[in-house]
Amino acid sequence: MNRRKFFASTGLSAAGLLVTESLFGFNPKDKMVQLTGAPSARYDVVKEMMKYPKIDAHVHCDLGNSNPEAQKKFAEILMEYAERFNIRKLILSKPVTKLIKGVPDASPEAFIDHNNIILGLMKLHPDRLTGSFTFNPIHLKASLEEIKRCVDQGMVGAKTYYQTKISDPSFYPIVEKMIDLKMIIHTHAETQLGVGGYRMKYNGNKPKNVSIPEDFVEIAKRYPEGMFQHAHIGGGGDWEYMCKALKNSPNVYVDTSGSNNEEHMIDFALQQLGEDRLLFGSDNCYYQSVGKILASNLNEAQRKKIFFENFNNILRKGGHHVD
């Protein structure tokens, strides 16, 4: 049958949505059914999105760029994002993601440079942008000096990447400092086959010191008064595993950022972790970070908590909250 004949026989060229009622003994030529579509009211996803002011607890400047002018342009994109999605405050960071021959750049020079970029952007847009400083705890003295420098200039938390596991003893004095400052430590985290100690018979092709949920459980248990932010349950890892592993660590918060927006992620996280430990974040994945929360079954109060109040309560402890 050629295409012209097919259209003629099925009526698909006619106006309206027509489909053959053809199953199991029905002759497709006997009867046509019109796909009428729903008379459903239009759902206004933008109105719903704009209802909730938000704090983005996990967002970056241009991670691969050290040029200040390029960063200024990128900041304009962030401002546009903030307007479009009703983001009141962006907790901006620039962790050191660079690899040198497959090994993460661990130098103080790198983290100081990265923090300078964030500080520059904070000055450009003080109403919308605040920042998290990065450091590497294996350089203890330099890290503590850098924390003081960044806090003095208005930064409100810490952000670390995959140079050193969050459970590594080198972190202990830093965690103690962060407890004094009443600030949260936000660390990159993954749960992927062959990464960071999880099912290492596979090769996930990642640096060896990526933190996994068990590392957060360990450090959170050692420092119950500390506050830890497990990065992006939507960052691509096994979010069911993450949430279950962190269930009994009440001082570990999770941010919901990341490019993965699986349907049941937010409801499952709520079920496992409760409504006070979930933090909205984008990780610069703007549509899906908002979409997956709006599509969840969270009630109004829970949405307000995840979008804004939970992170604001963390900021409040150090006196850095948003009014």
Partner: protein
């Protein structure tokens, strides 16, 4: 009108899904204003013989008049499995399927395998679209039993360049490209191929980081609303369209994305 060109019912063997029946999906559609969904049975990705999955889907749709009014079924066909030509014929001419989704990675054949080319040509000759996707789930959270195309490894997930060879091989077919999840960069020749092809891309994929830029680069006729439900959340694909500012897309363009482009490629 909203037509979702990328939805499913059925099971994912490595993770419990919600809203994965016609009844549950219809509730989502009603709640979030979606009029019609193009659906396949996920089970067909995992059955060696895909035809029972197609039969399951039609049986479910046939079980309720409301389903018949709201769902457009696409068959899952594996062109290197015995009897596929008969299956395709039955799907189109007896069961009322309106398109075909093809899974080269899961069904273990090259996208330009002669059998795949023949399948696409046959679907073309029926006047129906074929659909390929970049990926079904994020490979970084894959089960140890799932296929091993993994982001940032020597065997990465697909991007658009991996799908273009079949479009080049059968340029006059109608294509749906689903879950645009990876690198969007194309050279001039590749972009020309995309632009001149009868092809639409659904809005569910993570790589569509700025919908306005994608419309500008690919053209307003190249995108259509899609959710990748029930695997991905139900609203992100819609948000990409509805959050476009008037300066980025006028109402006529938004209507193309909501349903116009989908209607055109499906001939409805």
């Amino acid at each position: 009108m909203l037509i979702d060109i990328n939805a499913y019912v059925g099971h994912w063997p490595f993770q419990q899904l919600k809203y994965n029946t016609c009844a549950a999906l219809l509730e989502r559609m009603n709640k979030f204003g979606v009029d019609i969904s193009v659906i396949s049975n996920l089970n067909g990705i995992f059955y060696k013989n895909t035809q029972p999955a197609n039969e399951e889907l039609i049986a479910e749709i046939r079980s309720n008049k409301r389903f018949q009014d709201r769902f457009i079924p696409f068959a899952v066909i594996n062109p290197i499995y015995a009897g596929w030509k008969d299956d395709l014929d039955i799907c189109v001419n007896k069961l009322g399927f309106k398109g075909v989704r093809i899974y080269p990675k899961y069904h273990d054949f090259d996208i330009v395998d002669p059998a795949c080319i023949e399948l696409v040509k046959r679907v073309r000759d029926y006047g129906l679209p074929v659909a390929f996707n970049f990926r079904m789930v994020d490979s970084r959270q894959r089960s140890w039993m799932d296929i091993d195309y993994v982001v940032a490894t020597p065997k990465p997930e697909w991007n658009l360049k991996n799908i273009l060879p079949i479009i080049k091989a059968v340029p006059d077919a109608k294509y749906m490209i689903l879950n645009f999840a990876n690198n969007a960069a194309l050279n001039e020749e590749e972009m020309n191929l995309v632009k001149k092809s009868n092809l639409i891309i659904d809005t569910s994929g993570r790589s569509i980081t700025n919908m306005a830029d994608f419309i500008k680069n690919y053209g307003k006729d190249k995108f259509a609303f899609g959710t990748h439900a029930p695997i991905l959340d139900y609203l992100t694909g819609q948000l990409r369209i509805e959050s476009l500012r008037d300066t980025e897309a006028d109402e006529a363009t938004k209507e193309l994305l909501r349903s116009g482009n989908a209607k055109k490629i499906m001939g409805i």
